[in-house]
Structure formats: C-alpha cells, structure tokens
Symmetry: C2
Subunit: 391 residues, 2 copies
Amino acid sequence: MTDSTSGQGPLTGIVVLDLTRVLAGPYCTMLLADLGARVIKIEPKTGDDSRQYGPWVNGRSAYFMSLNRGKESIALDLKNDSDRAVFEALLPQADVLVENYRPGTMTKLGYGWETLKERFPRLIYAASSGFGQTGPYARRPAYDLVVQGMGGIMSLTGHPGGPPTRVGTSVGDITAGLFTAIGINAALVERSRTGKGQMVDVAMLDCQLAILENAVARYFATGKAPAPTGARHPAIAPFEPFATSDGHVVIAAGNDALFRRACETLGMPELADDPMFATNDARFENVLALKARFEALLQGQTTDHWLALLEEAGIPCGPLNDVAQALNMEQTKARNMVVDIAGEEAGGLRTAGNPIKLSGHADPDFRGRAPDLDADRERILQALNLPTGQA
Amino acid sequence: MTDSTSGQGPLTGIVVLDLTRVLAGPYCTMLLADLGARVIKIEPKTGDDSRQYGPWVNGRSAYFMSLNRGKESIALDLKNDSDRAVFEALLPQADVLVENYRPGTMTKLGYGWETLKERFPRLIYAASSGFGQTGPYARRPAYDLVVQGMGGIMSLTGHPGGPPTRVGTSVGDITAGLFTAIGINAALVERSRTGKGQMVDVAMLDCQLAILENAVARYFATGKAPAPTGARHPAIAPFEPFATSDGHVVIAAGNDALFRRACETLGMPELADDPMFATNDARFENVLALKARFEALLQGQTTDHWLALLEEAGIPCGPLNDVAQALNMEQTKARNMVVDIAGEEAGGLRTAGNPIKLSGHADPDFRGRAPDLDADRERILQALNLPTGQA
C-alpha cells in the first residue's frame, strides 16, 4: 500500500489475489482497490503484458499505471516450486481470487476452482474470460474487438450504410470488469451471511449481450434486427447533435412541452405549431427536415452561445466534448473525476477518478501509484514469515 | 415475487425500495433482482414513464418488461398522506433505497438521505443522477445522449472526419446502473461488518469519464485529445473488421507470431516476411496497404469460410453479428444469455440473461415477469398489517 488512501473504503480488510492481465481483470481489481480492498497483483516474471503498452510517462506505461493504481505487486512463476510456496502461503489469507486466463489454465496449474473450493471454502474465486467457463466457445481466445463485433453492439453503432464502427473505448473489456466486480461484491454479501465462498464466472461476450438494452426487446418484438442510428435517438426527436458555427450542440427535447420551450428559446416559436413538428411522431417522421431547420439557425452562432441560452431555459442539452474538454469541465473537477497519482505529480500522470461516491468515506483527489514489477515482494514475504532472499 | 426463481441468489433476504424510472435506476435494480434481492418498485400513480415506450408485446411495453423483470409494483403518491403511511411502513423493512430523481427531489418529499440516515441508520441510500449530488451541474437534467456527448466517448466513436456517432446502446445510463450496483453491494459488505448504512452517489457523467480507458492516459501523456479510430484498434494491426463476400470478419492478430500464422492460414505467407508488414509498428504504419491486401483476398469468399479457417488455426477472430445473429449463437444459448419471461412464453417476450454466473446458484433460463402497475399492492399491505382497501 503506497499511500494513505489505500485500504480506506467499504471493502477495507478484504484481501484480493489478482492474477489478471491487461484490461478486463485489472479494471475489476482497480475498482476493488478504489473501494478499499488490499489487492496483491501476482504477475509473471516478465510482468503484466500491459507494462509494455504506451503512452509512456516517467519511463513507465501510463496505460498500466492507470489500471493498476493502488495495488501491490509480486512476481511469481506458478510453475516454480519456491514461488508456488509463496502463493500457497498467500491463499489462506485471501478473501477473493480474480483471474482472467483462458478457461483451463488455472486447473492445469493445480489451482482451479474445483480444487481451491475444497481447500478454502470461504474463498470467492472470480474468473473473467472471453466466452466464459462453459459452452462451445469456452476455450477460444477473445479480444475486445472480437466480442464487440460478435455481441451485436457494433451493428448498432455507426451510420446507416456506413462502414463498421467500433465503440471508441474497450467496452468489451470494461463491462466484463464491471459485472465481475458486482459478482464479487454480491458473493461477499452472501459470505457474510453463510460463511461460504463461491465461483463467479463472467464472459465478455455475455456482458455485451447484457448491455444491448432495448435492441433485444425490439428484436424479439418484431423479429427484425435493429439498424444503427448514427447519432440520433432511435425513436425521439429532436434528440441528436446539431452543427453550430464551431462544433455541435446536443439537444434532447424529449416531449412536446420541451420542444415548444426549445423553439421559443431559439426564437422560432412557429415551429412548435407546424403540423410537421407538433408531435413527437410527426417530428420523428420529419426528422431530417427538423434537423435542417435547426441547423440553418444554429450554424449562425457558436456552441457556447446556444448552450447558454438552452441551459438557462432548462432544456436538456450539452456540447460534444473531446476528451480534453470532458476532463477539464468544472463539473469533472468538482466531482474529483480526475485524480493525481501519489508520487507521480511531477510527471503529470493523472487518471479518471472513482465514480462511486460514498458518504462513509472520503473521495480522495489522488490515488496510490501502480507498483513496479515485484515491488512488494520483501514486505509480503516478511508478513508471511517466509525467507526474503531472491526466489 | 412472480415465479420460483425470484429471491434466489447471493442477495436473498435483501429488500430494495426502488423509486427509479426509465433506465439507469431500473437497470441497477434489475441486476439486484437477478441476484436474488426482493425489489419493490414504487411507481407514481401514472406508472414508470417507460411503460409507455414501444415496442409492444401482449399490449405491454417490451422495453419496460425487459428492465423490470422479477420486481414487485406498488403505486404510491408520496405527496398523499395515506400513501406516505404505506411508504413509512415499508422503510423500516428496507435494506436499500434506490432513486434516480434529480438531486433535491427526495429532500422536498421529506425523504432525503440527511433525514433518512437519522431514522434508519442501517439503510443504504443509492442515488443515480445525471451529474451527481454535488458540483455546479448537480441540478441539471440529463439524458443518455447528453452525457455521451459531454463525457467524451462520442469523440472517440466514429470515423475520422465523419459525422458525430453515438454508441449504439445507452451506455450513459447502463454504466451508471452498473456502478450504482457495485456501490450498493460494497455498502452491503461494509454494513455486514459495521451495521451501518451509507449513501451511494453515482453520476452518469462521472461513469462516462471512468470508462474512457486509455484515452485518459493518452491525453495526459501527450496533452492532445485522442481522435476517433473508426473500427480499428488505435495501436495494433491487423486488428479490425475486413470485408468478405457477404459481410465482415474481425481479425485480431495482436503480435508477430499470430500475424504470421494468420498469413499462412490465409495462404499468403509471403506477407509476414514483407518489411512493410514484418513488425507491428510497420503494419500499423502501413495499415491501409495491409487492409487492401487482406480484403483483396477475403472478398473472394464468405465470412463463414474464413472464420472456419481462422478458428481452426487459433487466430482470434469473429463475425460482425447483428443483434439477431448475436442472440442466436450457440454460445449465447449455452450460457443462458437469452431468457424467457415466466408467464409470457406465448407472447414471445424474451430478454438478455444475467451475465454473472455463480456456482452457488442456479442460472435459470427464465426470469420473473415485470409487474403490472400496482399489481402487488394488496399483498404488500397485508404483510404490513395495513388496511387493503383502495388508497
């Protein structure tokens, strides 16, 4: 634990053995560390692959650093006897083990759930994988782009008739990390009642299906696969970005009263009485004509100009921010959603904060730094009363 | 509870008062119900707005039904004295209260956290809102499209120079639902140790920032906002969809060995020795030339043809499925990721399953149906020893 905020949170006292690499697993255990758990990252001797991914800050991977803040590191080769002895000494102290190997790997190492559950009945064993522990695809390799493509979200993203479009962030991994964190916490709740652990099995593909939202209902209700809708809401208008003189403004006027107020605010009240636009159904049928009318006006002034007017009138609206703009918003700062990394201030490494704000705990504006490979070996071995010489 | 699977799971015995509407909140409480909690949905007399959203199955909103499966419903007007008496009788039995009103609304009703924490110190009070309970934007209205635009994910999604592109599913709401569920479960873990509840405050905007992933590291490392990358990985090649004769195949050959194996499998082994493509850096620099070479070949045969070859060789790959194809995969069926709704089989209402698979609990292939408005009033009032006449 590398700073005073680690170990503070609702999961204080929970010990997590973290055998995960790259993204879905480390994202999950980052959430657990943010919530106060002690996360011991067990890396191969060559380190988590993502230590080699750019961009670089202070000679270290900013990618790795942002996903592994507040964790400890020990390098263990689980095929080596003396390292296995260390792992064996850690296991009885663990509340949770998280791994994101391909199914079967932990069993080959002698540490599959079927073995560990007999030895450590209180242990919660969480496995995050591409396709899950079961089914015909269980042993296949997966990456974010594979499950985004397979799970349907790419078929809903992009413009009709346009090229395939990926969601611009790795939602295939990240949603798996989120669902795994929910499963682990729920298993901890149950253990507090029963004293028993269990296995949590989360597949990236399954998570993509679970976030398809109303596309699933639309498919089963109509028998037709929904098409992508570009940047527009699939059923409500106006509910999309409109071009201004220097960018775009999103206007989300979801009912007739809001539409009327938006038209009045923009100085074209006659639009709300026009039969082409008087109801949501009419507006949606004439959505291109509506867009043309709005943009003819909106392109005459800046985004800031229109946002000030619309916000004043209480119309749901907002800019299309790039990442720099999003991270520098006053609201972002007020919510501690950009945090410093302890000890890295000089290098400018900053990362997204924890969006779970809890009344029982401070929401620090910094987080512990990510560990160097094997940085915590000595301290961990000492605490286990194991010899601290090089393994 | 409308079928035998409700109340089975790690959250068995947990009672949730659910004051949420439409999406972020109901998605969160759906997860809690899937995990075994008893979720009592407290609706206004006119019902959750989303009861009016299409598509329609058996005369009911498939949208509402898919988000509110396995919950109970009671209609309460919290400005009406006799309904407030019912709410007052429910509160002492609640472990968790979830609301997604605009900040301030619950306080006006006399049920803000600051009041409830004094009366019910074990209560976990979760609020999911657009911008959170604090900061200059706290009281602003928000919708999914507003926070997608403001939070930066739309700036990463789509093709360079192309029109703005929304993520094709409501990730603004859904990620808020996921983080709120993590916060609630973590607070339950802490309560099992301390006996005390707390407030969980989750903002949709914050959650958008928390899933920006390596875009945050890239921005702080370089000072430049990352651009959208279409359907391609921002740093690895080949890692994108390629056109075939009847669709696309995603190939994710993330290192030199996989690239060589892919080239050999596709019958163009010379590509792996070509200096233009021999290393990932070279491939990424020549990514358009690489794409042209791959597609010149791949467009000669079907997606199924190429997938069979690539899968056999162990190359990470997959199709670009539409929602129908994704929901009908063998793997989807094997994982129970499409579930029936009890009592609705005749109408064909089916919905996405729960991606959290737990060894301690069955993973049913059906879920309880969503309640009609106020359907559980009589039973709830009887259990509270309140008169059951019309309120």
